[in-house]
């Protein structure tokens, strides 16, 4: 049976059992989603790569500790998000770094005028969120995971996820509203205003 047809659980079991290819297959299967979460939570490709490497090595080594009960993807996301939050907490604020250009937004000729600018503005605004809020809103609003699943990933109550998302949206709306008096578009004439990310990552009272 080829690895490609196995379930995530089976791949993880095989990895624990010594199959040298199983973990790579698992990673290949989920890497884009995990990358998206890391990139958008941290806002920097280098940071995202660092966090993802930490996370994948942790997962590789800690696979035997996976208890089931939740999906392998939930477990992988938990490790990735925790690595991201940890890295964000340890890093100092870097307000002067250039704005992130979302790699995907570099694709030429998107089918909607202004999409690139919108994407850029949203990504820039995301960088200003405390990491916990960024992670929540990335998982729920961008990646589209159900609140309950995100709560399981982050091991906090669903209400906490909703609250973080609400606060994140309010902050993002504040910034994006400045860019879009008509509330429908952003443009080069009004580049995004970017505030440094909250230093300690604490959520406002």
């Amino acid at each position: 049976m080829s690895a490609a047809t196995l379930g995530d659980d089976e791949l993880l079991s095989r990895h624990v059992g010594g199959d040298p290819d199983a973990f790579n297959e698992l990673l290949a299967r989920h890497r884009d989603r995990l990358w998206a979460v890391a990139l958008r939570t941290l806002g920097h490709p280098e940071d995202a790569a660092d966090a993802l490497q930490d996370a994948m090595l942790s997962a590789y080594r800690g696979a035997a500790g996976f208890r089931g009960g939740s999906a392998v993807t939930t477990w992988l996301h938990r490790i990735v998000v925790n690595a991201c939050l940890d890295l964000a907490r340890r890093k100092a604020v870097r307000p002067t770094e250039p704005l992130l250009v979302d790699p995907a937004s570099d694709r030429p000729e998107r089918d909607r005028v202004g999409e690139r600018e919108t994407s850029l503005a949203v990504m820039s605004a995301l960088r200003t969120l405390p990491p916990e809020q960024a992670a929540a809103v990335v998982l729920v609003d961008i990646e589209g995971y159900p609140v309950n699943e995100v709560a399981e990933m982050l091991e906090v109550p669903a209400g906490t996820i909703k609250s973080r998302c609400a606060r994140a949206r309010a902050r993002l709306a504040e910034q994006l509203r400045d860019l879009a008096p008509g509330a429908t578009g952003w443009n080069d004439a009004n580049p995004p205003r970017v505030q440094p990310r909250a230093r300690n990552g604490e959520e406002p009272a």
Partner: protein, 334 residues
Amino acid sequence: MSDDHLSLNELAELDEDLLPPERAAAARSHLDGCAQCQAGAESITVTRTALGELPAVTMPAEVQARLEQALADEATGPARSTTIVPNVVDLPRRRFGRPTMAASAAAAAVVLIIGAIVVAKVDHHSNGAGSGDAGTSAAGALAQVPSNQVGNPNFPTSTSGVTYTPTSLPADVEDLLNTAGHASAGPAGVPATTLPVPTATASHKASAPSTTSSGTHLGGKPKPKSSGGHFSAATEGIVKAPATLPAALRPLAASRTSLLACAEHLAPAVGTFPIAIDFARWTAPAIGTTPAVRDAPSLIVVFPYSGNTYLVDIVAPACDDSSIRQFQQVTLPN
């Protein structure tokens, strides 16, 4: 109340149904007649939509290659149970501050550690090591050091000049301890004497196969030890600067007092001494925010911990609060 405009926070909470019922009712009634707040509510909706419409991303090829390489390096490493995440275990009484890792990484590490360690029965007649107020229960159990393994100030040193790496560390530590006479477990604290030069081949052949949970790989690559390396008994005190001694380490190698101060600084518990220190080098890829280092002169300081598990500090020559390059638990085969 209904005359007060709603903040974006309140509007977002209303949207998520997070407001208490009375507050929500008042907010809705205000919203019905307030164009400004309706615009605010609209901006929350627009934001959600904009987030949902971000284009998909794919992992860049170079990141993919980097991850695959990191996993390949991990796979070729020794299968002895090791916890390689740097700075992951914040033991009580460590005198150096160590950044803590995220809960899951720490939890994963604890799982590995608990899986690997047979927590030794502790006699409390030692000089305080292993007793006292441990932080968390898990860390507390782990921090207990058997009283017959706290080492003593006459720990042996060696000057292998070998370059240790994260993957070779367990095998190198095993070599070091075999040579220092501790690996096959005699109680630490046996007065150090002049020790023979280790030979990597012999000690690797002597290694038992791994018994880790993953068991995906066996043994590290044999690393030829420099024939110039030698151990010196504590009573000799000073290493006679063999060619393998990196210049940056000379001050520590030349002064037993400095070395003892350094060891005390690193000790996991008061009164715990290393069972071996090697003057060597360290090469490691960047992990997280820890930059990559290559052949950096480093002290390899091995503390007894529990059973066959040792705490290994890789320390820059300054041996001060920012000198710990890596801190790792190594469990050797029986």
